[in-house]
């Protein structure tokens, strides 16, 4: 019996069609809420700005070290949408580059934290009652019992202050949340009939973990990832604000808020610019996250 029969070909076609319809359904449900569409478009715009910062920013050279004192402290005008800072740099351009760092941080932190956390959570939930479960859960609990920002700050304080270490600090503080989430979901699914059936059929552990337990949880995990993205920026900005993260002249949003806040209240636009940038990112991810949660709410 070689080759694919007509029946099998039809079956594969049907599967593909069902998958396409599923995507269309998800998109349709997502489209229903205007706010989530707004969130998605905001993210796309910001992402675009971040990637093509060099072209979007009117004064890309102002991003790093640049001095032009006679142009300093200018209020918002036509040439400088958000004015200039104490070195004469265009605030708007710096914020644009700040977005780039922000998205870099989100990308790095989440791509480290989410896989690690989810895998650990799956393992802990699947191997209930074993030593490994106890270790993973207790360890996560310990990390969680400190206020997140405090933990992140203390880790960052031990390391050299730069943006990369700030990302590391945030990652080290964030991973247990995904363990907890996945763990609690896995535990409730662990003894469901379909899992027990797969086990009795001799499915490999990897298969059960990733093809049976994980797919159901993807919706919730995805929602959390989206909502978290905004908070990652928040913590990162807080670390930089305090001075333990990116250092001047790096155009990190948190660093800028801190730097420019010294010139309040006279030159208030300087500090509010990057602050508004942070708020925009958080808002956008909140809206998007709400939309994604609504999509998966019915599942």
């Amino acid at each position: 019996m070689g080759g694919t029969s007509i029946q099998e070909v039809k079956f594969i076609e049907l599967e593909k069609k069902i998958k396409r319809e599923n995507w269309r359904r998800i998109w349709f449900r997502f489209k229903k809420s205007k706010l989530s569409i707004l969130g998605l478009s905001m993210i796309l715009v910001l992402l675009f700005t971040a990637i093509f910062a060099d072209y979007v920013a009117p004064y890309p050279s102002h991003a790093g070290l640049y001095i032009a004192f006679k142009n300093a402290y200018k209020p918002p005008s036509f040439e400088h949408i958000l004015g200039t800072d104490m070195y004469g740099r265009d605030v708007f351009s710096r914020i644009v580059f700040g977005f780039r760092y922000a998205f870099m941080m989100i990308g790095l932190v989440l791509s480290l934290v989410v896989p690690t956390g989810v895998i650990l959570g799956l393992i802990a939930g699947y191997y209930r009652g074993t030593f490994i479960e106890t270790i993973i859960v207790r360890l996560s609990d310990i990390f969680i019992s400190l206020p997140p920002l405090v933990l992140a700050l203390s880790i960052a304080s031990i390391l050299e202050p730069n943006i990369f270490n700030a990302m590391m600090a945030v990652s080290l503080m964030w991973w247990p949340w995904y363990v907890k989430l996945t763990y609690s979901m896995t535990v409730s699914l662990r003894n469901e009939p379909f899992i027990l059936a797969a086990e009795s059929q001799g499915a490999s552990t990897l298969h059960i973990l990733f093809k049976e337990l994980l797919p159901i949880q993807l919706g919730t995990i995805l929602t959390k990832v989206t909502l978290d993205a905004g908070w990652v920026i928040l913590i990162g900005a807080a670390i930089s604000f305090v001075g333990l993260g990116a250092q001047p002249p790096t155009p990190d949003l948190g660093t800028m808020v801190s730097e420019y806040s010294k010139y309040l209240p006279e030159y208030w636009w300087m500090s509010l610019g990057p602050a508004a940038g942070i708020v925009l990112i958080i808002l956008a991810f909140n809206l998007l996250g709400d939309g994604i949660r609504d999509v998966f709410a019915g599942e």
Binding site: S157, L264, L283
Partner: protein, 353 residues
């Protein structure tokens, strides 16, 4: 003979009941977790940095001084030995010397802690009052003007971080409108005798009304900055919980028996709705304690968090460890209290395995 065995059995049963008691187990677990936190902090402070002694003393300190410090920290010995001696020190109140103030860190903590306690308590008051009023107002009349305004406010409140609120409020209320002071805890020239360290309390205890009013005005903007984010989240959850519960069968049942609407709302709908709201308060407390670091910095508030930030910037390891330990302890106690409140509200929690 039989009587004795009966008595022994009852004692055993009582012991079993006690050990199984929900609260007891919770507290036990928290103590274990606290030890875990101490280990974590210890690892962060001693193991993570390559050379804690060098890190603390700076790159310009002479090598022999650093070597002395290394001996002091027992860095050559195995980790568990280091931890053991460190733990003994902590329990004896010896947190080590601060490199900034040259005093024992514990003394520093005792000096600065009350200011933060005062700030957090004031924030909590604003938070609870604000969240409940807004949540109830909003939930009572869904989709009304007030409900929609509260919802919009909630969205803004959640998206705007504490330190941004701090800057905005400071700008508007203090700088532009000149309603409230912009910095510090008391205005220049006003002094209060220190009894507890909590200025509002002390001023009341010594009958210094002017100072009391002054202290309150200084508290408002920092507390508000910390509280707004929390109020937004809690009001939102309270509102949606109320709306959901009001349509549940157990509430409709009360309507079916002709029980007055306000009794139903404020008793039978509110109590189950408070459960998720108060549960969220644990996380909000965590964010309050964390954001206090930024807010105290912005307002120059002489509290534990500002002390901690200074310590972190100067790599004052002992101080960092001390501050984080105290905050960890405070947060653990707060979580236990909140859990207690939740289990009082929701009896199902008490009886779950």
């Amino acid at each position: 003979m039989n009587q004795r065995m009966d008595i022994e059995l009852t004692i055993l049963k009582r012991l079993q009941n006690f050990l199984n008691n929900y609260y007891f187990r919770k507290i036990l677990y928290s103590i274990v977790t606290l030890f875990g936190i101490s280990i974590l902090i210890f690892i962060i402070a001693r193991v993570l940095p390559g050379d804690p002694a060098r890190l603390a003393l700076g790159p310009r300190a002479p090598e022999d001084v650093v070597e002395q410090y290394r001996k002091l920290l027992r860095l050559k010995e195995p980790i568990y030995v280091q931890y053991y001696y460190w733990l003994i020190d902590v329990f004896n109140g010896r947190f080590g010397l601060s490199l900034v103030t040259f005093r024992d860190v514990l003394t520093d903590i005792i000096e600065f802690l009350p200011a933060t306690v005062e700030l957090i308590i004031f924030t909590l008051i604003i938070d609870i009052v604000g969240a409940f009023s807004l949540g109830v107002l909003s939930g009572r009349k869904p989709n009304s003007f007030i409900d929609n305004s509260v919802r919009i406010f909630a969205y803004a409140g959640i998206a705007i971080p504490s330190f941004v609120w701090a800057i905005i409020l400071q700008l508007i209320l203090a700088n532009w409108l000149d309603l409230l002071p912009a910095y510090g805890r008391l205005s220049l020239g006003i002094e209060v005798n220190r009894i507890t360290g909590i200025v509002t309390l002390d001023s009341l205890l010594t009958g210094n009304v002017i100072a009391f009013i002054d202290a309150i005005t200084h508290l408002i903007i920092p507390s508000l900055s910390l509280a707004i984010g929390c109020i937004a989240q809690e009001a939102r959850i309270l509102r949606s919980s109320l709306i959901e519960n009001v349509n549940k069968d157990y509430v409709l049942n009360m309507y079916a028996h002709g029980i007055p609407g306000s009794t139903i709302f404020f008793k039978y709908a509110l109590k189950p709705s408070m459960i998720p709201t108060i549960t969220i308060m644990t996380l909000d407390m965590a964010s309050m304690l964390g954001n206090a670091f930024l807010v105290e910095l912005i307002f120059n508030w002489p509290g534990l968090s500002r002390y901690g930030i200074t310590a972190m910037l100067r790599k004052d390891l002992n101080a960092i460890v001390g501050v984080v330990l105290v905050i960890g302890l405070a947060y653990t106690i707060a979580s236990i209290i909140i859990d207690l409140v939740v289990s009082y509200l929701d009896p199902r929690v008490r009886y779950r395995r």
